[in-house]
């Protein structure tokens, strides 16, 4: 029998844990600094500022004082980011040197950042089958892309910055040849390792880019196939323990400088660093960066996260920022929120997610065709949609585009914390919502009972819609999990149009949703309630077949 000794190797870990800290050091001023915006900014950045009536030069645009950088760097072991927007510097140093940094007269604050990360990744799929084609067409048809194409709207002239883990194969995959040939990749930058290309590692960004602008032969994968791109690698691959929020900040400043109209970020940070109550749009560094970006006139589109099936459950940051378009995932087969899509609201009860799009998609990446899942891919579908709106109406500000996206969603004005306002549809963007006759009414049965009764016409309409669906599609499979087998399509039926269900929610007197539900309609009488059971000052809101009505307590 062999005696073995197990030695605990703690010394070096403890040493490393205590000897190095990552700090965000903010400075007090930028006295004496100036900037020629016409030299510093790309022409499109100037154009964006002019359109949004933002001054060409603000305090946050001025460079950080070099003397402050030099003096602070003297205490850093290494510097990661110099940030104009936060007027500071991020770097590594020891706790002993941190004390000296705090004492510098020009230092406003020092924040210690020890940041494990959350990274959501996609799985790669199989080759394109007929079912795959259905899904590919469905992910665009569901947003009404024909309405854009008939008007020759392809995102032309709109510049989208994508932040991701890497864009491997973008330089060779034929799904991006039209982008390369037209020189639509304006700039790339690797914020993790400046010596390496963004094309060296990581397919996640490749998949994301394809969902905005991919095109393989005649098959389009995204809506904005003629947009321009700024590609930023801000994340390391899976096993890097620290978050890259500071890289996100640096990339946002770079995107601003280079004229981005949209930042598409299929990234987020959650339980490894934060509590749920931190998802308030203000606490995280990346939320601060996102707010700066929106103040510069950039539309920030971010994934909601894939946390619904774990204990976190909710959206991640920076999707928690009120001015960030938070995109959840729709299940293409059930027509309701996909099982893993993170739920809203934010911690301060801001309405989140804002909209949803397909959470299972066909993309292009390691192979020509991959099936992949995640709100990482709903986000770029919406980014492409936003680019099309911006091309159609270039005078809109970022927040006007934000409003237009929400108002063109197919559940609007109905909203809940899983579906947001629904899926944006181009036809609704162009023509507005159809005026719909009431599809249900609240009937007073007695003093303590109100019935929500569906009209005969609505029942006939629902019956007609059901006749077009295969039997399987009508099963209660609302919380399906996807099998591991990549031929996972339960049937070929992809819902390229809205699934007409009954949505209802209970709202309290402060506007907070306290309960919501989605039901398949099987009878005229679906809901019964005593208004006294509603919260004080609250109401129930019901949506069916495009009609929304409420009953107040």
């Amino acid at each position: 029998m062999i005696r073995s000794a197990l030695f605990i190797v703690a010394y070096f870990y403890l040493l490393s844990g205590f000897s190095q800290q990552k700090l965000l050091v903010r400075f007090t001023d930028k006295d004496g600094m100036s900037l020629d915006p016409y030299v510093y900014f790309d022409a499109k950045a100037i154009e964006r500022r002019t359109k949004h009536n933002i001054p060409l030069v603000t305090f946050s645009d001025l460079p950080v004082r070099p003397d402050y950088i030099t003096q602070t760097n003297g205490f850093f072991d290494s510097t990661k980011v110099i940030t104009r927007w936060l007027n500071g510097i991020i770097g590594y140093t020891s706790p002993e040197k941190t004390k000296f940094i705090r004492q510098l007269p020009f230092v406003q604050s020092v924040d210690v950042m020890n940041t494990p990360k959350l990274f959501t990744c996609s799985r790669k799929g199989d080759t394109l089958t007929n079912a795959g084609k259905n899904l590919l067409h469905g992910q665009l048809d569901r947003m009404g892309h024909k309405a854009f194409r008939s008007r020759n709207i392809t995102g032309n002239g709109v510049r989208v910055a994508i932040f991701d883990v890497g864009f491997k194969n973008v330089d060779i995959n034929k799904a991006f040849s039209h982008i390369r040939e037209a020189n639509k990749i304006i700039a790339t930058k690797n914020f993790v390792n400046e010596k390496k290309s963004v094309y060296q590692k990581g397919f996640h960004g490749t998949n994301v880019l394809s969902c905005i602008a991919g095109k393989n032969g005649d098959e389009e994968i995204g809506l904005a196939i003629h947009a321009e791109f700024l590609l930023a690698k801000t994340e390391r691959l899976l096993w890097e323990p620290y978050s890259e929020e500071e890289n996100w900040l640096a990339a946002a400043e770079w995107a601003d400088k280079n004229g981005a109209d949209i930042i598409s970020s299929s990234l987020g940070y959650g339980y490894h660093r934060y509590f749920l109550e931190d998802m308030d749009g203000h606490t995280s560094l990346v939320s601060e960066a996102a707010r700066f970006a929106t103040r510069k006139g950039i539309l920030v589109v971010n994934s909601a996260g894939n946390e619904a099936t774990n204990s976190w459950g909710h959206i991640i940051t920076p999707a928690d920022v009120d001015s960030v378009m938070c995109v959840g995932g729709l299940d293409p087969f059930t027509g309701i929120g996909i099982v893993f899509t993170s739920l809203g609201p934010s911690a301060d009860y801001t309405r989140k997610p804002n909209v949803i799009s397909f959470g299972s998609v066909i993309a292009s990446g390691a192979k020509e065709w991959v099936m992949t899942q995640g709100t990482s891919f709903s986000c770029p579908l919406i980014s492409g949609y936003a680019a099309c709106i911006m091309q159609h109406n270039p005078s809109l500000t970022n927040m006007e585009v934000f409003d237009a996206i929400e108002k063109s969603a197919d559940l609007y004005p109905y909203f809940d914390y899983r579906h947001g306002y629904g899926v944006p549809v181009a036809d609704i963007y162009f023509h507005g919502h159809d005026t719909v006759a009431p599809t249900f009414r609240f009937e007073k049965y007695s003093a303590s009972r109100y019935d929500c009764v569906i009209s005969d016409k609505a029942m006939d309409r629902l019956e007609a819609l059901r006749k077009n669906e295969p039997d399987r599609a009508q099963l209660n499979i609302g919380n399906t999990t996807v099998p591991d087998d990549y031929q996972f399509f339960m049937n070929d039926y992809v819902r390229s149009e809205k699934r007409e269900c009954l949505y209802y929610k209970v709202v309290d007197g402060h506007g907070k949703i306290v309960y919501y539900e989605v039901m398949e309609v099987y009878d005229k009488l679906m809901l019964q309630l005593d208004p006294e059971d509603l919260p004080e000052g609250g109401k129930i809101v019901v949506h069916l077949l495009g009609y929304t009505a409420e009953l107040k307590r």
Binding site: M1, R3, A5, L6, I8, A10, Y13, L14, G17, F18, V112, M113, N114, T115, P116, G270, Y271, H272, R273, Y274, F275, L276, E277, D278, N310, S311, W312, G313, T334, I336, G337, L343, D416, Y417, R418, C452, N476, G478, N479, C501, Y504, V506, K512, I513, V514, Y515, Y516, E517, V518, M519, E520, V521, Y522, D523, L525, M526, L527, Q528, D533, L534
Partner: protein
């Protein structure tokens, strides 16, 4: 028997979070339960806000642990160097109370089983007897109380256990100690197993120091026993004092 009760008692300690009825569920209820089958998704704020005080980095947390270790150290006394490989198994429950982002405190309740294998090959063996068996082991079943102070290295970690060092002490009660001896019966080609319990030389109450280095759910542990398992005035033999190994915390 006592050991089994102890294991069951520790194993079944858990808090079940009972989800209440959705108080705003206004579906029409009928005997065929159509409404329930037609429900595709529902969510209640009441269910969503439970557990905000419970979690790896919340005010309170509890979780099960499983561990395996080995003993190490000099055996002292007249019968030194008579021990072979020893294994230690643990099954326990950890209670954690958060003091600050850096400090936590709490205690472990553990069932611990340690089996000291006694080398039969040496001449002059006198512990626990002078007979050379095929194999022989001295097994201890203990109930352990292990209070600790935890120092987290990464205070900004969200609702995550993170990386930490636990320092503490422990006290244990030996619920059962058995001397199991197996010898061959060459006449009948059989093995004869003898189990002696209620051993008079066993010291039931023990104590010592403990430490754990944790990386979220994975822990390296070490214990140093200060007391003597064997009453020295009865038998001049001291069992090894160090035990170290790995533990895994079990939580979602």
């Amino acid at each position: 028997m006592k050991q089994r009760i102890l294991i069951i008692a520790i194993f079944t300690m858990s808090i079940a979070s009972l989800r209440g009825q959705h108080q705003y569920d206004f579906k029409v209820k009928d005997e065929s339960n159509r409404s329930w089958r037609a429900s595709l998704f529902s969510w209640s704020l009441k269910d969503d806000t439970t557990g905000r005080n419970f979690g790896p980095n919340r005010s309170f947390f509890q979780y099960m642990t499983l561990g395996y270790g080995i003993t190490y150290g000099e055996q002292e006394g007249n019968d030194a160097d008579h021990l072979d490989f020893t294994g230690n198994y643990k099954l326990g429950y950890v209670f954690k109370f958060k003091i600050s982002p850096v400090f936590s405190g709490g205690f472990n309740l553990l069932y611990s089983r340690t089996a000291f294998k006694i080398d039969q090959g040496d001449d002059g063996k006198t512990f626990p007897d002078s007979i050379a068996y095929k194999k022989q082991k001295l097994a201890f079943h203990e109930a352990v109380l292990d209070p600790y102070l935890r120092i987290n290295f990464d205070p900004k970690r969200g609702n995550h256990m993170g990386n930490y060092l636990d320092l503490g002490a422990y006290g244990s009660y030996t619920v059962g100690a058995r001397l199991i001896s197996v010898k061959e019966d060459p006449v009948n080609d059989e093995h004869i197993k003898t189990v002696r319990s209620n051993l008079s030389y066993i010291n039931r109450m023990n104590y010592g120091l403990s430490a754990r280095l944790g990386f979220n759910q994975f822990m390296l542990f070490g214990r140093y026993r200060l007391s003597d398992r064997i009453e020295q005035d009865k038998v001049d033999f001291v069992l090894p004092r160090f035990t170290f190994g790995i533990q895994i915390g079990v939580w979602e």
